[in-house]
Subunit: 311 residues, 2 copies
């Protein structure tokens, strides 16, 4: 993660300056990974904000100009935009460039982007498993990727040198890197990310719809557990709509299992089967301990909310 005198790339172009794109720009600067960071975003107000914050060497409303001469181009926009973006940038990519992304589903990226990749351009889909509930260029920060995993899902025949370069790039942005088959990635993320988001969105919606319990009551007594769910249910709606539309089969598979298990718990409650409840509740404790040990979660009770002097 320390700055290296030799940048990996002369020019990196980030397409999209939301939470992930802007965090990546900060991380690239922190580690000195590119001589020039160019940013394109379709929205002028976002580009103005990027300029004001100052994490890019150039900002472009013209996507073709943004990618010209880039050694690495990264799509960091909602998944539904990828096919159109690929079609537009393809003719302007430099031979030898790496084309990558940060999307949360990988099968659809290969399906939508793959057909447009020109001969001589190295297409390597990537997914840094990191984020916060906030959106936009102002939400980005260099530390977002520190200690998190970035999963690369190269297609058959990917150039080993390009793969090694992209691996180094993510390492120096702070990530551990794992190589995985796209289909398996999409299954793993369905249970570790997509279904959790779906049920968080769902319970917040259920609570919002109640008439026997007011919204004021839901808010006042949210410290009983509900508020933990609202964090991920505050994530970007467009990004998440596209995740569910593009990882349908894996999400439905994992959601089906979740609902099956929930039916068993529902029956245990109805019939007063305390042992079934106790056994599950005991087993689940161990998983959190493992996540904390693996450095993927803070050890502090209550997410450190009771810390006396928050920074």
């Amino acid at each position: 993660m320390s700055a290296d005198p030799q940048p990996l790339f002369s020019k990196v172009t980030l397409i999209g300056a939301g939470l992930i794109g802007s965090s990546l720009a900060h991380a690239i600067r922190r580690a000195g990974l590119a001589a020039h960071v160019a940013v394109h975003d379709a929205r002028d107000e976002v580009l103005a904000e990027v300029k004001a914050i100052g994490f890019a060497d150039s900002v472009h409303s013209d996507i073709e100009a943004a990618v010209t001469d880039a050694d690495l181009v990264v799509f960091a926009t909602p998944l539904g935009s990828f096919g159109g973006l690929a079609e537009r940038v393809a003719p302007h990519l430099k031979r030898g460039a790496i084309l990558s992304d940060t999307g949360s589903v990988k099968g659809c990226v290969i399906r939508d982007v793959g057909p447009f990749v020109p001969e001589g351009v190295h297409f390597i889909p990537a997914h840094p498993v990191a984020g916060t509930e906030q959106s936009g260029p102002g939400a980005g920060f260099a530390e977002l990727f520190d200690g998190r995993w970035c999963i690369l899902t190269p297609v058959a025949g990917t150039d080993a040198g390009a793969l090694s370069t992209l691996t180094q790039f993510w390492h120096r942005c702070g990530c551990e890197v794992e190589i995985m088959e796209a289909r398996h990635h999409d299954l793993v993320l369905a249970i570790t990310s997509h279904v959790p988001h779906l049920i968080a969105y769902n319970i917040v919606g259920t609570a919002d719809d109640l008439q026997t319990v007011t919204q004021g009551e839901v808010i006042k007594y949210s410290a009983g557990g509900f508020r933990d769910f609202t964090r991920i249910a505050a994530s970007d709606p467009t990004m998440w709509r596209d995740v569910f539309l593009n990882n349908r089969d894996a999400v439905l598979e994992m959601l089906g299992r979740f609902m099956e298990d929930l039916n068993v718990l529902q029956r245990a409650i109805r019939w007063g089967d305390g042992d079934a409840l106790f056994n599950l509740f005991t087993r689940t404790r161990a998983i959190r301990r493992s996540i904390v040990s693996a450095g993927q979660e803070v050890a502090e009770a209550n997410f450190g909310r009771n810390r006396k002097t928050p920074s």
Copy 2:
């Protein structure tokens, strides 16, 4: 919350020295609410830990001795123990004493404790809506209740003076206090606390059972959202078993609505209805903002996990 020269009570007895009982002892000391804090716990090793930490003026394995002469007795044990405790302490309660508790369900407390309350003892069920995922006397801290709500569910005919005293007590422990009917409390907590815990336990169980995704993968990629759920799924198993066994009707009602809504989302994903997904995901953002504004949640992104210098 500042210490007052005049304690509210000469002697307060806490039955149970887990997270809530021990936090209450710390909060009582911080505010100078009792001249003497007595603690009973059924487990000798817990009493030894209480002695070692030193937040009680006396510790008792004998429950009768613990409650003798107490002005306030608080049950802070799992709900399933309340009936037996009430039967045992009832003959030893002082006339004019307040008998209360910290249980997460209130209808069952009135059902189980009410019949044993002697003439002249003021029985006022209470529920401070606060907690962490940690358990035991070492997990307690005075600030747990600061800014949280404590709900009192007095039965008909409750003495106004005793109610006022208990309200003052919780105020000075750091809480806002609300009076509510027990049945409504149980419905409100079903959606704000009990069902969220149930679905958190459930998804952690579902993930643990998978064979296509390894437990190591679940742990490594948990930063995608899953880890948020593991916090409340690490809560005390006995306490939570008793919550579900004792708030069956309200939990089944709210769980039914949750599942109904989830079926609608499942169908939206299957049929590619992006608008339905986008609309829900937009609506749920507003709720988190309200919870943050109400002071029931920290405003920092990612629960402040990316804070550079955790205390």
